[in-house]
Symmetry: C2
Subunit: 724 residues, 2 copies
């Protein structure tokens, strides 16, 4: 039996080291014995080492010893078989609970041994564990899993049906902070249960969070712990104790992804995105060729740097001197855009390496996506050998508008703005371009990531983080090749700039997800959901939403508080806008009486003060003006949502112009607040909405939900970045 004193993880470094040494010793033994899981006593020792509370227990090798142990710890007790050959103890009849006397314990001991023999005659039996039986409090589950993309994750849920039937479980990247752990307690649907229902005691949140943190630290310190399940953990008003510990290990070596330093990423990505000189490999003068489209986009797009067409035979292409190889180009080249068939890529890429070009934009398809995994591996190796960062392959290229750079075969796009978008899929990239043009959305960049043989979402985040032209980053992805790196970078970047992600493949049954029990409970998507939240990422629910967020978030100023006020001409819009406010995680300000009175002065006696402020439909422009001005002026109000109703008295463009006027007037006085608008009316409201949007007020015709969704996204970001 373990006589080791409980060691606190947060004790002095030497204690920490000895804790690590103890776990290392146990794992070494498990490895030496070729096992894939720890016995219960080993599990308890590991918990002891990390200060994870477990019940009193001991292992008996005879019935009388079992009774003695039980007498020592007090009744009731639990008996469990200890055998490296029996993993599913209950199934083997190897568990008896609630034994209340020495006599029952003695009889139980014999029963368990007999059951074990019956279950597996040749099982090696180390004895029977006698364990203090925990009662009362709330049964919860704490676990850890290893995800293919995110690595170590810690999991938390309530026991029983809530996890099993309702999948009410939440994940965080391990190791996690105390704040992360506390947020997990609020991150389940049944969170209220922990606060004590039906007169029950609330759990000790600090103790539970402490246990979660320790589990997350343990699995992070020992990557070979692939799964850990503390189920159940009894959480009471005093403490949290793990009644059962299951630890699964995997000692097989894991391949590490190549990760340059953040500085190196910025350096190479800057040369790719803002090149002084650029080569087009496969440049062509022939219409319809990809290499021709790329050349034209570069030239017509107004790119001011050097353009070097590379072509095996031509001397000149579209007025530019052509070269046979990048190696023949006299000056430095920052990036090579590939517009040649897949089979020629490796050779040309090697030449780029020899020329010390730091980046390659691999437009060609015909790699992993068509089954040519070997071909993709080959170019990845060349990239690593020569330290070339690879974008793609199988992409449309990229745009960086502030350099007038359209390194793509798609249509050119040149409306400068502050949204940087990327897509894993070419089709979605085309939708981004179309939407941007249609909505007059200014962008800083649009990037295709395709097969992501090298450059990944996290590389883009690292670049856009320090790119002053970019104020919001919106990414479409189907998977994250290295979710861990993405989350770490996103957590840092999202503190400065909003990061929006549309994760496709939400519903695909999470088949590739963690194979473990705890992981399989919720499915892959819940992991993405939780990690995005932990990382401050705003999740878009649809393509259109991602696009609207990219468009609206950089336009809106950051709110300084949570007090949202609706001012509406249409009572009906007010109701729908209120619904949308709640749906999008905001709340309507409770009007202070003096402010209520102040609004009342501007609206007809039958209008409704309170919030929404219903100015009623038949009002002249001054009523909108007065109420909106008041809303912007009063510092207790932090954001305005406007509901406009088309009337002859206040036509759409009159409304739009006066709102812009008031907003500008207040801005001049230092009153800067996010304002969004919903416009109900005949088609003239479309022009008014566009007018407003172009002037910093996201406005939508025929929709009460879209403006509020955009405001809600800005709020989500501000909260995640700690600005609220």
């Amino acid at each position: 039996m373990a006589d080791a004193a409980v060691k606190q993880r947060d004790a002095a470094p030497s204690a920490q080291n000895s804790a690590k040494d103890e776990v290392r010793r146990i794992l070494d033994q498990v490895k030496a014995e070729g096992r894939t899981s720890l016995t219960a006593p080993e599990g308890k020792l590991v918990c002891d080492a990390y200060g994870i509370p477990v019940p009193k227990e001991g292992v008996a090798t005879s019935a009388s010893e079992a009774a003695n142990l039980a007498d020592g710890m007090g009744y009731p007790v639990v008996l469990k078989i200890v055998s490296p050959d029996i993993l599913h103890k209950t199934e083997a009849g190897g568990v008896l609970v609630g034994l209340k006397s020495a006599e029952e314990v003695q009889k139980g001991y014999e029963t368990i041994l007999a059951n074990a023999k019956k279950y597996k005659a040749d099982a090696k039996i180390d004895g029977v564990q006698v364990q203090q039986m925990l009662k009362g409090g709330q049964e919860v589950i704490v676990g850890a899993v290893t995800d293919g993309s995110f690595g170590k994750l810690v999991a938390f849920g309530l026991g029983g049906i809530l996890v099993e039937v309702l999948k009410d479980i939440t994940f965080r990247l391990a190791p996690c902070t105390r704040e992360d752990a506390l947020s997990m307690l609020d991150g389940i649907q049944a969170a209220e249960m922990l606060k004590g229902v039906r007169g029950g005691d609330p759990v000790n949140r600090e103790a539970l969070a402490d246990l979660i943190v320790k589990v997350s630290q343990l699995v992070s310190d020992f990557p070979e712990i692939s799964e850990m399940d503390l189920n159940p953990v009894f959480a009471t008003k005093n403490d949290a104790t793990a009644a059962d510990v299951r630890i699964v290990v995997d000692f097989s070596p894991k391949e590490q992804r190549y990760r340059p330093s953040q500085d190196e990423i910025v350096r190479s990505m800057s040369r790719i995105m803002k090149p002084k000189a650029l080569a087009v490999i496969g440049a062509s003068a022939e219409d319809g060729k990809i290499g021709n489209s790329v050349m034209k986009n570069l030239i017509n797009g107004g790119y001011k740097g050097q353009i070097y067409p590379i072509h095996p035979k031509a001397d000149e292409i579209l007025g530019y001197k052509a070269y046979k190889s990048v190696k023949d180009v006299p000056g430095d080249i920052d990036v090579a855009v590939f517009a040649i068939p897949a089979k020629f890529v490796a050779q040309a890429l090697t030449e780029c390496g020899e020329k010390k070009i730091p980046g390659a934009v691999l437009i060609p398809s015909g790699f992993a996506e068509t089954g040519n995994v070997e071909g993709q591996k080959e170019i990845q190796e060349i990239g690593r050998k020569y330290n070339i960062r690879l974008m793609g392959p199988n992409i449309y290229g990229f745009y960086y508008t502030w350099e007038n750079l359209c390194a793509t075969f798609c249509t050119a796009y040149d409306v400068k703005g502050h949204a940087a978008l990327s897509s894993q899929s070419g089709g979605i990239g085309m939708a981004i371009i179309g939407f941007s043009r249609s909505a007059k959305m200014g962008v800083s960049a649009i990037v295709g990531l395709g097969n992501k043989s090298d450059i990944d979402e996290d590389d883009l985040l690292t670049f856009f983080e320090q790119d002053d032209n970019t104020h919001v980053i919106a990414q479409h992805c189907e998977d994250l090749k290295d979710g861990r790196a993405f989350a770490e970078v996103a957590k840092r970047v999202s503190k400065k700039k909003p990061v929006v992600v549309l994760k496709a493949g939400r519903t695909s049954a999470g088949a590739k997800a963690a194979s473990s029990h705890t992981g399989a409970l919720a499915g892959n998507d819940k992991i993405y959901e939780d990690v995005f939240k932990q990382s401050g990422v705003i999740r878009a629910r649809s393509l259109r939403q991602m696009l609207e967020f990219a468009r609206g978030i950089p336009v809106l100023p950051t709110p300084k508080g949570e007090n949202v006020v609706i001012i509406t001409g249409a009572g009906g819009s007010g109701v729908l806008l209120s619904d949308a406010v709640v749906d999008n995680g905001m709340s309507l300000m409770t009007m202070p009486p003096d402010l209520d009175e102040a609004f009342k002065k501007f609206i007809p006696p039958f209008g409704a003060s309170g919030n929404p402020v219903d100015i009623t439909g038949g009002e002249p422009p001054t009523t909108y003006k007065n109420t909106v001005r008041l809303g912007l002026e009063d510092d207790r109000i932090h954001a305005l949502i406007l509901g406009y109703w088309h009337t002859i008295i206040t036509p759409p463009m009159v409304f739009a112009k006066l709102i812009v006027e008031v907003v500008e007037e207040m801005k001049a006085k230092g009153k800067v607040k996010p304002v969004v608008a919903s416009l109900a009316g005949d088609v003239e409201v479309e022009e008014a909405a566009e007018y407003l949007y172009q002037r910093g007020i996201p406005a939508y015709a025929y929709s009460t939900e879209l403006p509020v969704e955009v405001l809600g996204a800005k709020y989500k970001w501000a909260r995640g970045a700690g600005l609220l």
Copy 2:
């Protein structure tokens, strides 16, 4: 104690009558004694009468009698105080559970009496109830509430935290059918619990459904039963037994809403919506007046019936002979449109009554919405007195395009189509008009309902049900004045035509909801959600969604089965479309091998067969054509979702035209299936989307979710109408 034999509700009529007589007798006594709730023994008698299973029990008036009773029913037992003055028994210390012997029962009896005295010294105590204690199975709650709008509702949920913390409860209108009751068992989040988890037995679904039906019948037979709670009900593999019965009564008389017969509604609504002659009360020749806008809209809209301007002084208005009163008009008038201030309405309406005009469109505001409740009551009374149906007041009027009728002061709208829309709010009405014009959505009617002093959503449903020009009905509402009538009519109408409802005020804390315990658990919105579902109503989640559903549903043919196939040029769109399919309650067809092979023949070797069928981006028009043709031809496929990717090889309009061509070709062969499309590309895809939409293929640019939402809505309707 009850010695009455258990009476089955579904027995012969005489038994049913005697069951009713028994309950009537009990309720009469409760009423006579001025009580608002039944005692436990009374509750048991009521359950007995309706065949609702309850445990064995009896009431003892001495400790020894209690022990005798317990001996007779077997241990363990529960003891409960019986007192009309103590409603919250547990709070009063009036409940003891799990008593295992005669001795415990005797002692318990004394304890309970002592507690009761302490709780309320002057409480009248009828004795102590001894009840067989039920164990095992699944604890569930069955209840009934009285909702202000929907009347009697039956409720079902699992006991404990699932109802209390997670609000996992479901409602149906009472009385409900066996099918409704069975659907409730699947209508909770934790439905799996009833099927037996962790090796437990499944509950007896028929027994549980039977109990629910009986409760729903009981509260319907006796409207004075305002609340009923069976909590817990023990549901086992054999039966379902209510362990505790709580019945609250309310004998105060309820006001009944005036309801004409369905035939009468159709008759009067037809004269309003398709009038041969129409009076404009307050018609004016003066620009800017509401009565002028109405006249112009009627004239310029092309209305072919008689128009009678009513004006106190004018002889002629805009070329039409004017009259001082409707009573001066020589011929019959079908409807009077009011464009006069509120204060003159009552007098003019009385004249309409004397003229026997069956309908009044009350545009004026200044009634209940401004606090003038009396004024509204006055016109309601005039309406009833003369049998005039009232639309409004406080509305924009209405449009009925097939009669070229714009009886409104808003802008005219004349694009004939098959969607009939209505809104409670004027602002939302203007959004409907703007969206319709912008999206070229044909409508049959747009109707403002405003204060709904008389004509309500259900009247419109009844009219549009038989209106051949209307194929889909979409309604915005903030409340349903008579949810019961709405649900009953919607249930019938939705079998023939899709009914879409946008219920605003979803999140307003349901304050006006049922005041009872069970009702308050879920909040008002869950009731709307469940009743809409029970009635076959498609619920729109946002204003834009309601509009898109109204636009798309009538355009799409009804699918003949559940097999949905995605054909996409963009793999990325395929993933997002798949997500949307699941989100919208559909499922992707599992491809039969032969069909898979057939598709493979048309797509490049590196394209992905299966579902989505990924034809890859670089394909010529023929690939789209061949695959879509196959998708339409094969009878195992019931609906197609197309993902288009803009390329030079297959430009947007080429794609759009070929799709229309193939769909038409197949239609000629009798292959009619719903097809929707998502278009990813540069702005030219907008024109292509419009081309497709105008030809029966709902198509959206830059969105993967909208086309699938529309298809999903059509599916929801088809299932609700029993067509799938």
